[in-house]
């Protein structure tokens, strides 16, 4: 692309070099950022898992002595915060980061440096919240932080909560904008919206939910912060503050948040199943519009978290109805997944097992979800282990199974080698059994009247047996992830080359080398159909059976050219220090609010300098 102006002399040189830790710290490559997202999220997953094991150990038997009430409250709060904000969301974002550009035929996201900024803010935000353990106690008011308890709890725990989530919100918002624009605007020629892989579609819905949900929780968290630190009255009943305001704002964010966590997994499954069934997705349009419908309806059901709060029969009925009918689009998706398997030639691989596990478990979560909409009985279920069972079937049986399916599916693309199928299947069965052992009994515990967030329970309530089973299951899940880690290490040593297209995939990312070059596509592909890559490899016979038009595929036309000309003349955005610099401003401001007002100014200054450097550094093409 010809440039007309003379290159500016930037005051700030941009870092160079493609290897070494500095290249990771300053990278703006969506693939590296995606990997960093997933690795960080997995690290937090292990921490959150250990917290869960401590919780289960405490509850394994009546009058447990493992944890004190104080410790228990901190651990269940941090378990929730960690798994939601530091594991499921960032894992989804990590996969989006890595895959969306590859799937839509782009060379990077719309805003590479903003992308890096999102990651660093996410990382620092997570560390900020966890630093509270060493600075006088972690948040202990529940991830839902109901006021006025959250404004009354002593110590800085809940202040860390309000500020930490605020910081993570900045990361999510930046990421959301970035991906929305990337998907709208960075598609390869011919990649129309209705040709996009379902994962990209679900990511688009997810990012829109983030875009509109994050500001609401931001306001709620600010109000909580002002109440705690600056003696405001938003949630102070004695001054006329209304505790229900927090609940409305929180769940206005909190329910879309549920779909923010589950939709990317649904997208992954919708791409994994067709590949291994060797069949196009059944009812592409229906599955896409179902996703969009879920996104919309997700805004009309928040008050079903408040059926016991006293909204009155009219509001309760209205939200009961909306809650029931959001099950319809969800059902559509499940039927379409089954339809995708129907008549296929299914290769039962590890990613496929996890994807089917997702569908199987999500059905249970969906059914128990419908049972919440019968309000009078929800008043029995709410805040019992029945709820805990329900959302673990959705977020673990759902989201985590889907994400792990994604890891096994795209691992060969990202690292160029295959994970062991034998260990992978062992991982699946251990996780599947452990999961059901851990969470199926919670349905019963809930119906037997065991409330959540109890650090102890007495003997003679009929809860002992199932709690023990559940704890057992928890440890089986832990074991299954040990197997996963072993799998990664051993497969890495063995390094069984995957080739470009190990699964005979359907979408663009399989048309390029594994791991992909920095510029993704040597020649930007021209897309002619949905599942473009599949249609380049196969034509359908009149009987509707696919026959290969050429073998392998990686060297076909529109795939990456021969290596010597590959990447020639492609200008990728240069790495940058400033996303990292700027991101440091936020946690420093956070500590400032809690400990020393001066730091607020310092943080703001760092943020501003970072942004100025960001703006003023010569942008990519001028470095050439």
């Amino acid at each position: 692309m010809a440039t007309v102006v003379a290159p500016r002399r930037g005051i700030f040189a941009r870092p160079t070099g493609a290897t070494g830790w500095l290249s990771w710290v300053t990278t703006v490559d969506h693939k590296r950022i995606g990997i960093m997202y997933c690795v960080t999220a997995f690290a937090f997953f292990i921490i959150g898992g250990l917290e869960a094991l401590l919780i289960r150990a405490q509850l394994a038997q009546p009058n447990g002595e493992v944890l004190s009430a104080e410790a228990y409250n901190q651990f269940f709060t941090m378990h929730g915060i960690t798994m939601i904000f530091l594991v499921v969301m960032p894992m989804g974002v990590g996969l989006m980061n890595y895959l969306i550009p590859l799937m839509i035929g782009a060379r990077d996201v719309a805003f590479p440096r903003l992308n890096a900024f999102s990651y660093w803010v996410f990382l620092l935000g997570g560390l900020f919240i966890y630093s509270s353990f060493f600075l006088g106690g972690a948040p202990d008011g529940g991830w839902f932080g109901y006021a006025p308890l959250s404004t009354q709890l002593p110590g800085d725990g809940m202040t860390f909560y309000s500020l930490g989530l605020q910081i993570l919100g900045v990361a999510s918002l930046a990421g959301a904008v970035n991906f929305i624009i990337t998907i709208i605007n960075m598609r390869a020629p011919g990649m129309t919206l209705m040709r996009m892989p379902v994962f990209v579609w679900m990511s688009l819905v997810t990012t829109f939910l983030l875009l509109f949900a994050m500001p609401v929780i931001a306001v709620a968290l600010f109000q909580l912060m002002f109440d705690r630190v600056y003696e405001a009255n938003f949630f102070r009943p004695s001054a006329g503050g209304d505790p229900l305001l927090w609940q409305h704002l929180f769940w206005l964010f909190g329910h879309p948040e549920v779909y923010i966590m589950i939709l990317p997994a649904m997208g992954i499954v919708s791409d994994v199943l067709p590949t291994f069934a060797r069949k196009p997705i059944f009812g592409y349009a229906a599955i896409v519009f179902a996703g969009i419908a879920i996104g919309f309806m997700g805004w009309g059901v928040w008050a079903h978290h408040m059926f016991a709060a006293g909204l009155g029969p009219v509001a309760n009925s209205a939200f009961a109805l909306s809650t029931m009918f959001i099950a319809v689009p969800t059902g559509v998706k499940i039927f379409n997944w089954i339809g995708t398997l129907w008549g296929g030639a299914i290769r039962i691989t590890t990613p496929f097992l996890f994807a089917v596990g997702f569908v199987a478990m999500f059905i249970i979560g969906g059914l128990s979800g419908v049972s919440h909409s019968i309000v009078p009985h929800d008043q029995q279920q709410t805040d019992t282990y029945y709820i805990v069972a329900h959302f673990h079937y959705v977020l673990f049986g759902g989201a985590i199974f889907g994400l792990v399916a994604g890891f096994y599916y795209w691992w060969p693309k990202v690292f160029g080698y295959l994970l062991s199928e034998a260990l992978g299947k062992l991982h699946f069965w251990l996780m599947f059994i452990g999961f059901n052992l851990a969470f199926a009994p919670m349905h019963i515990l809930g119906l037997q009247g065991m409330p959540r967030r109890y650090y102890t329970y007495p003997d003679g309530m009929g809860w002992n047996f199932w709690n023990l089973i559940s704890t057992l299951g928890g440890f089986v899940i832990a074991l299954s992830f040990v197997v996963f880690i072993v799998n990664v290490i051993r497969s890495h040593k063995k390094r069984e080359e995957a080739g470009d297209d190990p699964w005979d995939g359907r979408t663009l990312e399989w048309s390029i080398p594994s791991p992909p070059p920095e510029y993704n596509f040597a020649r930007v592909p021209v897309v002619q159909a949905r599942d473009d890559w599949w249609h380049k490899k196969y034509v359908e016979t009149p009987e509707g059976e696919p026959t290969r038009v050429f073998a392998g595929g990686a060297n076909g036309d529109d795939a990456h050219g021969s290596e010597e000309d590959a990447g020639h003349g492609i200008h990728m955005p240069d790495p940058s220090y400033f996303p990292l610099v700027a991101s440091f401003g936020l946690p420093i401001m956070g500590y400032g609010v809690i400990f020393q007002p001066v730091l607020i100014g310092v943080g703001a200054l760092i943020l501003m300098l970072g942004l100025f450097g960001w703006v003023l550094e010569p942008s990519a093409e001028e470095a050439h």
Binding site: M1, A2, T3, V4, V5, A106, R107, D108, I184, M186, F208, L211, F212, P237, S238, G240, D242, L244, H248, L252, W299, A303, G310, L311, G312, V314, A315, I570, H571, M572, P573, S619, A620, E621
Partner: protein, 116 residues
């Protein structure tokens, strides 16, 4: 993705062509001033106090509309910009209308409840 930051796609060229000239901007500015004056004026007309709210809302909407369509060029630019913005705006209006309705329907704090 080579980043020239130089050429405008044809689409943008015509956008720029569509942008109104300073005179129109000033006319809009004058209208804004007039509407604001009206708002403040009726605020002081006692006879209108009972029905003032709809008037004020209409005036506010007019100002909002003028700025968004002329100064932010939504009437000239691509519909996509409008959709992004309006979806957020409408969503906000709808959900918070519902929230406020719920609060109004159930009333607020019960005054007679004492602190002890």
């Amino acid at each position: 993705m080579t980043q020239t930051g130089i050429e405008h796609s044809p689409r943008e060229e015509e956008e720029l062509a569509h942008h109104p000239d300073p005179r129109q901007y000033i006319v809009v500015g004058v209208w804004l001033a007039i509407v604001t004056a009206l708002e403040v004026a009726i605020y002081y007309v006692d006879s209108l106090q009972d029905i003032i709210v709809p008037f004020l809302l209409v005036f506010a909407f007019i100002k909002f509309f003028l700025v968004v369509t002329w100064f932010m060029h939504l009437r000239f630019d691509s519909a996509l910009f409008r959709r992004l913005f309006v979806s957020g705006l409408v969503l906000a209006l709808v959900v918070f209308a519902i929230v406020m309705t719920i609060f109004l329907a159930r009333g607020g704090a019960v005054p007679e409840i004492a602190g002890g």
